[in-house]
């Protein structure tokens, strides 16, 4: 082992940091992770219209959750950025609702498990996340805008349609095409 990564700029380094936090409650690793993600989570909250003080608070809460739930982070299931994004998203929703966001429970005995072959074939999630990242860049402007409005403006399909002055069906088909394009890109020679 060669010490702690100095930044969390790459998914690989962020993953090493996550494992140090999970396995050793490594504060130094956490500080590096915090320096990368807290300011981005705060930016995410601000983009979604959260006031500055609350955005700061929610970013702190997100990173605190990362610390506390680090042992649940499973490299096989998500890249660190994806995992932290989902924590931030849920905390933001829960901050504004009385009932917490409906999420499946991976330990629920009633959950239908993944088929065995899917578990064996499952590509490394870091690899998938990096393919998704590349695929986003290949979306056309219309698709990219619809995706951006979904993730950063908290808009429903009909609200996006209103914002862009488009029929609802057009918004849905843009999102569907964006989704298909990304899925095709990650599907290449891996399935």
């Amino acid at each position: 082992m060669t010490g702690i990564p100095k930044t969390a700029d790459t998914a690989e380094d962020a993953t090493v940091l996550m494992h140090r936090i999970a396995g050793h409650q490594d504060r130094q690793a956490f500080e590096v992770l915090f320096a990368h993600f807290a300011p981005r989570v705060k930016a995410y909250m601000l983009k979604l219209g959260t006031a500055d003080a609350l955005a700061d608070e929610l970013a702190q809460e997100t990173l605190l959750t990362v610390w506390r739930k680090a042992e649940q982070f499973d490299r096989a299931k998500a890249s660190p950025s994806t995992w932290i994004f989902t924590i931030a998203r849920n905390l933001r929703i829960d901050a504004f609702r009385k009932i917490s966001r409906p999420e499946l429970d991976p330990n629920d005995p009633a959950l239908v498990p993944d088929p065995e072959e899917a578990q064996d074939d499952r590509m490394n999630r870091l690899q998938r996340a990096s393919r998704v990242r590349e695929a986003i860049k290949t979306l056309n402007d219309e698709q990219a805008e619809a995706v951006r409005l979904s993730f950063f403006e908290d808009l429903s399909h009909s609200a996006i349609a209103e914002r862009l002055d488009l029929p609802l069906g057009t918004v849905k088909s843009r999102l569907r095409l964006a989704f298909a394009r990304i899925r095709d890109a990650i599907g290449e020679d891996l399935k």
Binding site: F30, F34, F37, P39, R40, V41, K42, A43, L46, D56, A59, Q60, L63, L64, W67, R68, A78, S79, T82, W83, I84, F85, T86, R89, N90, R92, R97, K98, I99, R101, P102, L104, D105, N107, D108, P109, A110, L111, V112, D114, P115, R128, A129, V132, R133, I136, R148, S150, F151, F152, D154, S156, H157, K172, L175, R176, A178, F179, A180, I186
Partner: protein, 219 residues
């Protein structure tokens, strides 16, 4: 169990982005518990969120943010450990999470209310007033009166099955309907059907019985 009717992909994307209202999120999450394929799709959509988070220009945190978080990290957590379910009760759950927690139990604990011949409902508590979620229990061969939609409707089968005249829906399947769809779902003979229905706007009934039921019970 093979799922034949899924949640539309653009809805899965909005679920991953965090845009759906509470009731619609609930029906998506319950479908995900029963459908590995859609689960995989939502994981991929979350990767989009992760990639976009990384691309954001960082905004300075308050000066003492890290110190605050580290101080709180020291404090032990209380009472957040879920109680594991035993395997013997497991096999018999009709409602997957997060539906059981929302109701506070499984099928047996639902307080049904009769709304018509062979049809009972239970309206679920929701966190916002956007869409409405209800459980429907329909006796074998019975149906909901023919109706159209002013918004979207998702109907997820939890037990038994129904037919809309063209297609069959079984446990885990979702029928999605928008304002273009007029249908009259009929529960399968025998067992009937229990489903979770989420509507974003009131249904439109065409016959007088449906209209009266709507006035009285607010379906």
């Amino acid at each position: 169990m093979t799922i034949h009717h899924h949640i539309p992909e653009e809805t899965l994307l909005s679920y991953a982005a965090g845009d759906l209202d509470d009731a619609t999120s609930l029906v998506v999450a319950v479908h995900l518990a029963l459908c590995p394929a859609c689960r995989d799709a939502v994981d991929m959509a979350a990767d989009i969120g992760g990639a976009m988070l990384d691309e954001l220009a960082p905004v300075s945190m308050s000066d003492d943010a890290l110190a605050h978080v580290l101080a709180r990290a020291e404090m032990p957590l209380k009472g957040e450990q879920p109680v594991p379910m035993t395997a013997s009760t497991a096999a018999s759950y009709v409602f997957p999470e997060p539906l059981r927690s929302r109701i506070g139990g499984d099928l047996r604990s639902v307080k049904w209310r009769r709304i018509g011949p062979g049809v009972q409902q239970f309206v679920l508590p929701c966190a916002d007033g956007a869409s409405q979620a209800r459980l429907l229990r329909i006796a074998g061969g019975q149906g909901v009166p023919e109706h159209g939609h002013t918004g979207e409707e998702f109907t997820l089968v939890l037990s038994g099955g129904f037919s809309d005249g063209r297609l069959e829906f079984a446990r885990g399947d979702v029928e999605w309907a928008d304002p273009d769809v007029v249908h009259r779902p009929i529960a399968e003979e025998g067992e009937g059907c229990v489903c979770l229905a989420v509507t974003s706007a009131p249904l439109q009934f065409f016959d007088i019985i449906g209209k009266i039921a709507q006035r009285i019970i607010g379906i």
